[in-house]
């Protein structure tokens, strides 16, 4: 009986996964079509690499990718530097002010970017941060910090303090407590948080386009150069999008193993 259960779940799970993935699959195969055939519903066609050739000839893909990586990884790293201590404190040593503080942090994200474009632009100009990777890292760190704190806090809260206490009673120092007990338990949560932060930074298309020009432009600007020109662009845009998503997909695959790995929650008991 159990075998049938697994089979049914497997089928349902896969059907849903395929349906959800379908638009991306469609975009991916369009990247290998010609512009003329780009919007036809054929599944069978002769693949060509000409769109990719066009994209590489036209844009300095490497520059855009490196910028995206610097900015996403950089801002996520700085975010964690700030957020993990704060979340640790808020989760394990909360005060009556903690809830309010968390909500206040989230409220710093309430202003839509379009409303604050000019003030930020003027500020960045004054500080020489326009078209500057540091400038982008700063703004993304601040943008993502509330998310990082909230998510880290959530995952920390799910760790029963009893374990840490038990470790302490057994004579572990603070460092040992954090590294050997806390870290393995919160790693899946922090990994998925890190992945989410990187993706938010990777796909952020408002500041990255408005505050950069030639030197610090990340992949979002790369994509903007392929969307909606006057003329057919579907195949090229698909190729460009595939190239923009590829590094993230690779990263996602790598951290997926972290997330799905067998967890030692046996320690809970």
């Amino acid at each position: 009986m159990k075998k049938y259960g697994t089979l049914i779940f497997g089928i349902v799970g896969w059907v849903i996964a395929l349906v959800i993935f379908f638009p991306i699959f469609w975009m991916a195969i369009t990247a290998f079509k010609t512009e003329q055939g780009a919007y036809s519903p054929d599944l069978i066609f002769v693949p060509t690499l000409e769109s990719f050739k066009d994209v590489f000839a036209r844009s300095n893909y490497l520059l855009f990718v490196m910028n995206s990586i610097y900015v996403s990884v950089g801002s996520t790293f700085v975010c964690f530097l700030f957020a993990i201590p704060a979340a640790y404190k808020m989760s394990f040593f909360p005060t009556p002010k903690t809830q309010g503080r968390l909500l206040w942090m989230l409220s710093t994200k309430m202003m839509p970017a379009v409303g604050v474009l000019v003030p930020i632009y003027l500020l960045f100009r004054s500080f020489g941060l326009l078209d500057n990777l540091i400038g982008l890292i700063v703004i993304y760190t601040l943008m993502n910090l509330p998310i990082a704190v909230w998510m880290s806090y959530t995952y920390f809260c799910e760790i029963p303090a009893a374990i840490l206490e038990a470790g302490r009673i057994d004579g572990a120092t603070l460092w040992e407590e954090l590294w050997y007990l806390l870290r393995p338990m919160c790693l899946p949560g922090l990994s998925s948080t890190g992945l989410i932060l990187i993706i938010f930074a990777w796909n952020e298309a408002f500041w990255s386009i408005n505050l950069t020009s030639a030197n610090a432009a990340p992949l979002t600007a790369f994509i903007a150069s392929y969307s909606s020109p006057e003329g057919l662009f579907w195949a090229k845009l698909s190729a460009a999008s595939l190239l923009a998503v590829a590094p993230i997909m690779v990263l996602g695959w790598l951290t997926q193993k972290q997330l799905v790995q067998g967890l030692t929650f046996g320690a809970v008991k």
């Binding site: 010609t34 512009e35 003329q36 919007y39 036809s40 000839a57 036209r58 474009l117 000019v118 632009y121 003027l122 100009r125 326009l130 078209d131 386009i209 408005n210 020009s213 030639a214 030197n215 432009a217 600007a221 903007a224 150069s225 392929y226 969307s227 909606s228 020109p229 006057e230 003329g231 057919l232 662009f233 579907w234």
Partner: protein
């Protein structure tokens, strides 16, 4: 070691001085095919000018316009050359944000550039931008379908002819639509085309006192005509179709007629990307009550912001990119049909270029479009498919949204016009008109 010192030192000095003199020119352009070609050929400019390095910022139109306007109006100096249009140039020039273009080599032939463009890009007699490409609008139709049904396109069609043709050509069972027109809301999207339709139907945006004249019988007649035509003979999803969606419909053979930018001619005739290459015919944009403003005038032109850090080098590039030599370069690279259209008379005098079926109608359109005289009666603004004031970008889009809503059946034409009248009145009042 000493004998190596002199030549080494000399090499070092030369190297350092070249590096020290290397000027980086940052260019902001739209991502249209002509500009992509320009980027592709730009190494030739860098070869001729080894001390200049070009940095490109290319994005789609609305985004680059936002970037450029923010940069130029705050004097931030992020860009040395900006690509702006007939709309922005007079506005920027009036505010003193652009450097006048004054240094031309002997063979540049300023007079060769179309007068309508030179005028449109000047302010108080000084030229502030060099046109890289120019376009007007015209009617593009499937000659093969016309021949099949025994229809003949008159030399100057009228909109009533268009309705007759569209009715005859529509065959929804076969998936062929008589006509496709822009419907996506936006001052540069549906309102670009509708602006010309409204002009030729005798409409105006404002009277001489800057009172909006939208809630008028002329507007109602024009917009009702547009909506009825699209309902009867247009494709579904019209209210979200912009230039690119319509181009896709045409190149895949799904529509028989299209009124839009003259640059579309080159794309429709490109056999690599279009299924209808060789089957198209081109005619002037239709008229109705008046020929004034029946086809638009637009140009993407290179201008140099006041705050540019490398103004001299920038001007060199702008001159190079709009010169006859550059046009010849493109012809050698991808053929005459692909050269930047609509800027120089000499291009249209060239027998090679005249072979393109869209060349003659484009030339006629470019020469007869007059932004200073866009309507049937005198008006306080210039611009055919736009009103040359900064606030137009916003209220033009709002009107576009309302009309798109009427097209999608979400409101009546009367309601759309009423709402538009109110919105435009508030917008210009806020901006301080009448001045």
């Amino acid at each position: 070691m000493k004998r190596f010192a002199s030549p080494l030192f000399a090499v070092l000095i030369t190297g350092v001085s070249v590096l020290a003199q290397q000027k980086t020119v940052t260019i902001a352009t739209v991502n249209n095919p002509d500009m992509i070609e320009l980027k592709k050929l730009s190494p030739k400019f860098e070869e001729k000018n080894p001390d200049i390095k070009l940095n490109w910022v290319i994005t789609e139109e609305n985004t680059i316009r936002q970037r450029i306007t923010t940069d130029v109006s705050t004097g931030s100096g992020q860009f040395d050359i900006v690509q702006i249009g007939l709309y922005e140039t007079p506005i920027f020039a009036k505010r003193g944000w652009l450097r006048p273009m004054e240094n031309f080599p002997a063979d540049y032939d300023l007079e060769d550039l179309f007068k309508s463009l030179r005028d449109g890009l000047s302010y108080q007699g000084k030229l502030y931008a060099l046109p890289f490409y120019g376009e007007s609008s015209m009617l593009m139709y499937r000659k093969d379908l016309f021949d099949e049904k025994g229809l003949k396109m008159p030399d100057q069609p009228k909109y009533e002819d268009i309705k007759k043709f569209a009715d005859a050509l529509t065959d929804k069972a076969k998936g062929v639509y008589g006509i496709t027109l822009r419907g996506k809301p936006g001052w540069g999207e549906n309102m670009a085309f509708l602006g010309t339709l409204l002009n030729t139907f005798g409409c105006t945006w404002f009277d001489m006192k800057w009172t909006p004249t939208i809630d008028t019988p002329e507007w109602k007649k024009a917009i009702t005509f547009y909506i009825d035509l699209m309902k009867a003979d247009g494709p579904p999803g019209a209210s979200a179709n912009g230039f690119n969606e319509n181009l896709t419909l045409m190149t895949s053979g799904k529509a028989a007629m299209w009124i839009d930018a003259t640059v579309a001619g080159g794309m429709l005739e490109n056999a690599k990307e279009s299924q209808v290459a060789g089957k198209m015919g081109y005619a002037p944009s239709p008229i109705e009550a008046t020929p004034n403003g029946s086809h638009w005038l637009w140009s993407w032109a290179f201008a140099i912001p006041k705050a540019a850090k490398q103004a001299e080098a920038a001007e060199k590039f702008a001159v190079w990119a709009t010169s006859k030599d550059y046009i010849k370069l493109v012809a050698d690279d991808i053929g005459w049909a692909g050269v930047p259209p609509g800027t120089r008379k000499s291009t249209y005098d060239n027998p090679e270029y005249q072979k393109a079926p869209f060349a003659a109608p484009t030339l006629q359109a470019m020469q007869t479009a007059d932004p200073t005289n866009p309507a049937i009666k005198p008006v306080p603004y210039t611009g055919i498919q736009f009103v040359g004031i900064p606030e137009f970008q916003s209220f033009g889009t709002v009107v576009g949204q309302n009309i798109s809503g009427a097209l999608a059946g979400k409101s009546s034409v009367d309601q759309a016009l009423k709402d538009s009248q109110a919105a435009v009145a508030r917008a210009v009042k806020q901006a301080g008109y009448p001045k």
